[in-house]
Every structure is written in C-alpha cells, then in structure tokens.
C-alpha cells in the first residue's frame, strides 16, 4: 500500500487490472469468488485511492490537473513551470510515472533502455500489442504511442 502503486492492496490492484481489461463486475466476482456487490464496493475504494495517488502526484510535481481516467490509470495535466502538457500513468508494474510531452531526445540519453523496458511493461499490462515498428521507435515516441490513446480529443 504505497503511493507508488496508488495505495492499492494486491487484491485491489488485481480487481483494478481486471476492470481495465473490460471485465464485468460479475465476471470479476466469479473469478475471485466474491459477490458482484463486493466488487462494486471495491470499485469505490479503488477509485478513491487511485484519485488520491494522482492528486498527490500532481501536487508533488506542481502540475495542474486537467482530467483523470480512473479506470485506465492515466491523468492529463499541465506543468506551469515548463509550460508543457504532462501525462501521469499508473500501472501495477511501473507504479506512478510522469511523462512530460516534449521532444525529449533519446539519442543523447543514457536511460533509453530503461525507458523502453518501462514502456514495454506498460504496454503489456494495458494489453497493447507492440510490433516491430514500435520497437524501432525511440522511447519518447513509443510513450506517446502507448499513452496518447488515453488523451481526450
């Protein structure tokens, strides 16, 4: 139960993951051996914790929150300090990650491989298939390819 994983317990994290995969409350309840009502209650608790984690991430990084997608675990925000849009992602594997939307430039960065591993784990958890073309892209482009789909138009 840490801020990094949205204060979710392992069981709540499991329920949250199943909901993100478009599983119905009845399906999740059947799989975990609990009633649909129990899952419904868990949703409320999970939503509260995920929202709290996002709000604290925004506060820590001085971000202005625009939208929060509690189901997919993505927050859209703006960084007044850098005057650029920001995406914050939450996943079981990577926890909370802040992504600043600007050029980045992976060619001069030593952490390219580390970023790529994080993004591959993010894609896998979100059920996003990465093809060879994706693997050739620098992580800065791959990030927007994976997380950009959760942005509002």
């Amino acid at each position: 139960m840490t801020f990094k994983v949205g204060y979710l317990t392992p069981r709540e994290a499991g329920i949250w993951d199943l909901r993100r995969r478009d599983r119905s409350q009845s399906d999740i309840g059947r799989e975990l051996g609990v009633s649909r009502q129990a899952i419904h209650k868990a949703y409320h608790i999970i939503d509260g914790k995920v929202e709290q984690a996002f709000m604290e991430a925004a506060d820590t990084n001085n971000l202005v929150v625009k939208t929060i997608n509690l189901v997919d675990g993505v927050m859209e925000a703006h960084s007044p300090a850098h005057d650029i849009p920001v995406l914050v992602s939450l996943s079981n594997k990577n926890g909370l990650k802040v992504w600043y939307l600007y050029e980045g430039n992976c060619r001069t960065c030593n952490l390219e491989q580390s970023c790529r591993s994080v993004l591959e784990a993010e894609a896998e958890e979100r059920g996003i298939e990465l093809n060879t073309l994706h693997q050739l892209k620098p992580p800065t482009q791959l990030a927007i390819e994976i997380l950009g789909r959760y942005q509002d138009d």
Binding site: H82, P85, D152
Partner: protein, 99 residues
C-alpha cells in the same frame, strides 16, 4: 487538444538525467540469467527424465529383433517432443488468458 505532440519523456525539460550504471552485457551472471529460464529448465529436465526412463526400462522392454521405440535417438526425440508440446500448451494457455 495535444494530439500534435508526438513525444513524451519522463524527465522535465532541462532536468539533469542521472548517469546510467554500466553493466557489462556479457558478465557471467547476465549470461547465466539469460540461459537459465523456464523454457531451458523444462527442456533439460524433460531430456534428463526421458533419458533415465529410457535407461531403466530398456532391459525389460527390448527384445532382440523387435526394436520397439528404442531407436538411436529415441530419448532425444522424445524430450524434444515433450518440450515442444509443453511450450505449445504454455502458449495456448497464455493466448486464452489474454483473450
């Protein structure tokens, strides 16, 4: 809204990125970790178990003139078949779980 932006970076503009730690890719531990995984362990175990099975059952099953299944590479082939069928089962299970 911000669809025109095609890049995202975990570091804010101008932030000093920490230097990466050099881990030699060919270090002994790294090679060992790459070699020892679930698939290779399964292959080795199936090979060893079938070899033992072959070795222990050979005298009781082998009659002169009837080669039965005991050809030259019986246990090698069987271990490969076991491995392949095991892996097929694994991937089918993974595919089903995903869909």
């Amino acid at each position: 809204m911000i669809k025109c932006i095609v890049n995202a970076c975990p570091f804010a503009p101008g932030a000093v990125k920490p230097a990466s730690m050099a881990v030699p890719r060919t270090s002994g531990l790294a090679v060992w970790k790459r070699l020892v995984n679930r698939k290779s362990t399964f292959l080795v175990l199936s090979f060893v178990s079938l070899m033992l099975l072959y070795g222990y059952s050979y005298p009781s099953r082998h009659y002169p003139g009837t080669p039965f299944m005991y050809e030259e590479s019986y246990f090698l082939k069987m271990s490969l078949y076991t491995y392949v069928s095991g892996m097929l089962g694994f991937y089918i299970k993974k595919y089903k779980r995903r869909n």
